[in-house]
């Protein structure tokens, strides 16, 4: 039996799938539990979610098993050694980047607007919390006493979301009149402007503390418990992330989601169909920005430090790489892309660098410092962008468009004349929009 046959047999047999996935989770769980220092075991356990994605279980089962892995198994398996916090740190950042990439995916993937200054919204969120959760706000706020307590964090998640959305709209109103490729340039310029302003807004009134940044941002607090460790932030991020994924899923198949796709495919035709171009694009900007702003608040609280160097153009491009790598317009794809890029950035490259350094120290081979993988981010991202644009523009997990079965629709139409929902199940047709 060759590989293809084997795969199709597995695809056909749910019980076999359950055994494989279960076994995989148990083995990777056990190996991480026992071998605490094994980054590979940690990554393999995370990869169980990808495996789960490819199974043919119902969505509810997938969510349940995935939830079990993320809420219980992963933290539990990682909790047995010194590396616990660093694993959770990675997992937390993965979550933050996934939410941002999902936000950018709405703008680039669904609405087809290339935004190269996306990190600006993240910065807005971070600074919003950073300024009020340090004594910084005392410099210019006429009333109130700062820093605000850690309990305000929960409110600030929403404030960050709103501020970013507001700026998304404010930026969008003039900018969205610009045609496609100029938009990329304008957003890039906007991103730089925001960074430069934050970098210099220590005078005349000291609002952002300039290049020095804001230190000792108050950690979140709930019922007297302070959230200080990545293992705690992990759960905050997880909850927000689930809400974000849920929202994205809902939006994608809603009226506005279809309007986004229509605008992406052909602006003029979309307009002729009665879609309000500017309003539709503004929505994309606002929603995308709001995810980013929310995570900015979390990021500021987690790092307890905010400065402009976290919000450079490279960050914007990094998020773009996540979207392109995973697949523009595809939610599972973007999640995968964000996870891969973040882990690559935080874990693989550093591990590889350490390993090479050790080899150099023990004299096996000599790798010059200039070529150390940790410095090669731009190179790697550049290669990813080029290769994917050229050979796989639809990304690793391409977006699926639901296909309506004509006959089926007619049948349901006659029964429920108002039913125009997406037809689930049946065939899923993959559109390779390139």
């Amino acid at each position: 039996m060759d590989v293809k046959n084997l795969l199709s047999t597995i695809q056909a047999n749910k019980r076999l799938q359950a055994i494989i996935v279960g076994l995989y989770i148990v083995v990777t769980f056990a190996s991480l539990y026992l071998a605490q220092k094994s980054v590979i075991a940690f990554l393999l356990l995370l990869a169980s979610l990808l495996l789960l994605y490819f199974t043919s279980f119902s969505n509810r089962v997938k969510w349940l098993v995935g939830g079990l892995v993320l809420v219980v198994l992963l933290p539990l398996a990682a909790s047995q050694g010194e590396a616990y916090q660093s694993y959770m740190e990675v997992a937390t950042l993965v979550g933050i980047y996934i939410a941002m990439a999902l936000g950018l995916n709405i703008v680039v993937g669904l609405a087809g607007l290339l935004d190269l200054g996306f990190v600006a919204f993240f910065a807005l969120g971070s600074y919003t919390y950073g300024i009020f959760a340090t004594s910084q706000a005392n410099n210019f706020m006429p009333f109130g006493h700062y820093p605000l307590s850690g309990e305000s964090f929960w409110v600030f998640i929403f404030i960050g979301c709103l501020v970013a959305a507001l700026f998304g709209v404010l930026l969008g109103i003039p900018v969205l009149r610009v045609k496609g490729d100029y938009l990329a340039i304008v957003t890039l310029g906007f991103g730089e402007i925001i960074r430069i302003i934050f970098n210099n807004l220590d005078k005349p009134v000291n609002i952002t503390n300039g290049a020095m940044g804001l230190a000792s941002v108050k950690p979140p607090e709930l019922f007297g418990i302070q959230f200080m460790y990545p293992s705690q932030f992990y759960y905050i991020v997880l909850i927000i992330l689930i809400a974000v994924i849920f929202a994205v899923r809902r939006l994608e198949y809603s009226k506005i989601g279809r309007a986004w796709k229509a605008v992406r495919e052909n602006e003029i035709a979309a307009q002729a169909m009665g879609i309000h171009l500017v309003r539709t694009k503004l929505m994309a900007f606002a929603v995308g920005a709001s995810f980013s702003g929310m995570m900015g608040v979390v990021f500021a609280a987690k790092q307890t430090f905010v400065d402009p160097t976290s919000f450079t153009l490279v960050e914007s491009i990094t998020i773009l790489v996540m979207v392109i790598l995973g697949g523009m317009g595809s939610v599972p794809g973007v999640i995968l892309g964000a996870a891969i890029v973040t882990i690559l950035n935080l874990q693989v490259l550093t591990e590889l660098t350490n390993w090479l350094n050790q080899l150099s120290l023990s004299g096996v081979i000599h790798v010059p410092d200039a070529l150390s993988p940790a410095k090669m981010q731009r190179f790697i991202f550049g290669i990813i962008l080029i290769l994917f644009a050229l050979y796989r523009p639809q990304g690793l997990l391409p977006a699926k468009n639901p296909v309506f079965d004509e006959k089926d629709l007619k049948d349901t139409d006659s029964n429920h004349p108002m039913n125009t929902g997406v037809h689930k199940g049946g065939t899923q047709h993959v559109h390779l929009d390139s």
Partner: protein
């Protein structure tokens, strides 16, 4: 306040002109490629940067071999300019062949993304080669034409302060003018220049006139990149120190210049470049003065990007352009 602005004006004009000349030639590369392919060639700023590094490397090699002493500096510079422009010209052509041509019928979004990818790739390749050879990615070239010449602007009118000019300023300016005039002649007066304009206006019909469109596009990339690379060398000579990240922001400003002059319009790009250079220097010198120190010189980039955004939003056809109707 006006007094202070006027005092620094001579120096602002000199510095702005030097910077503007650099922007102008880099803008030519953007405008030519956009004119012919409707593509923002993000990598063009990196071609400029690569040119700066290649040129500086050759100059450093020359002085390492002791040749600089035996050869007039201007001759060495010309030699370096020729070698560098051929190298970056070929690089630009190669990028078009490998990364843009296969995507010519793909959605613009995808091509733009490739261009960003190329841009990052070039930055890092230059970074690690320099770091490998030099130990550090910041490179300082041999100092050429560094004699300071005083300009007695106060002799014209007492409201001006005296200014000073590095002698390289004249060389940069003269060479930049030569390059621009040569390009203008090529595009407007020669057969291949005419073919370039024809391809930019109507690619399909140009092919019906026996024009090999791919060849013309490759030629466009070669010329634009050669000019960009040569400008990189001039930049390195004028400002001394370079790093692999000088290209991106400079490229963005040069692109602003191209848009300001009307994208696709070669003379417009030259004009736009000079304008942006002057405005930037003016802003750098006077923003702190005008705002009483509230806005520092760091805001000059904000100023440049604000111009970019305002032009793109309100006058995307440029200062002298006509509104074009979007094709369906």
């Amino acid at each position: 306040m006006i007094e202070q602005v006027l005092q620094t004006l001579p120096q602002v004009l000199i510095d702005g002109l030097a910077l503007g000349a650099v922007y102008a030639i880099v803008a030519l590369g953007y405008t030519m490629v956009y004119g012919i392919l409707e593509l923002i060639n993000f990598a063009h700023g990196e071609i400029f940067m690569t040119g700066a590094f290649v040129g500086t490397a050759i100059l450093l090699t020359f002085s390492g071999l002791g040749w600089m002493a035996s050869m007039p500096a201007i001759l060495a510079l010309l030699l370096v300019l020729i070698v560098t422009s051929v190298a970056t010209g070929l690089l630009g052509m190669g990028i078009e062949r490998v990364a843009y041509r296969p995507l010519r019928n793909a959605p613009k979004l995808i091509t733009l993304i490739t261009a960003i990818g190329i841009s990052f790739l070039l930055q890092d390749i230059v970074r690690f080669i320099t770091e490998l050879k030099n130990g550090n990615y910041i490179l300082t070239g041999p100092s050429l034409f560094s004699k300071q010449i005083g300009v007695k602007a106060s002799a014209i009118s007492s409201v001006f302060n005296d200014a000073s000019v590095k002698s390289s300023f004249f060389i940069v300016l003269i060479l930049a003018v030569i390059m621009m005039v040569a390009l203008d002649f090529f595009v407007n007066k020669t057969k291949w220049g005419m073919a370039m304009r024809a391809v930019a206006q109507d690619r399909e019909t140009a092919a019906l006139m026996t024009v090999n469109v791919n060849k013309v596009i490759a030629l466009t990339f070669f010329i634009g990149s050669a000019l960009g690379g040569a400008t990189g060398v001039l930049f390195a000579v004028q400002y001394g120190t370079i790093d692999p990240y000088i290209g991106f922001i400079l490229g963005l400003k040069a692109f602003t210049a191209a848009v300001l002059g009307g994208i696709g319009n070669i003379r417009g790009a030259m004009f736009g470049g000079i304008m942006i250079g002057l405005l930037e220097m003016f802003a750098a010198a006077n923003l702190p003065v005008v705002s009483h120190g509230i806005l520092g010189a760091e805001y000059k980039d904000v100023f440049a990007f604000a111009i970019l955004i305002i032009v793109l939003i309100f006058k995307p056809e440029g200062l002298f352009g006509k509104v074009s109707v979007e094709k369906v």
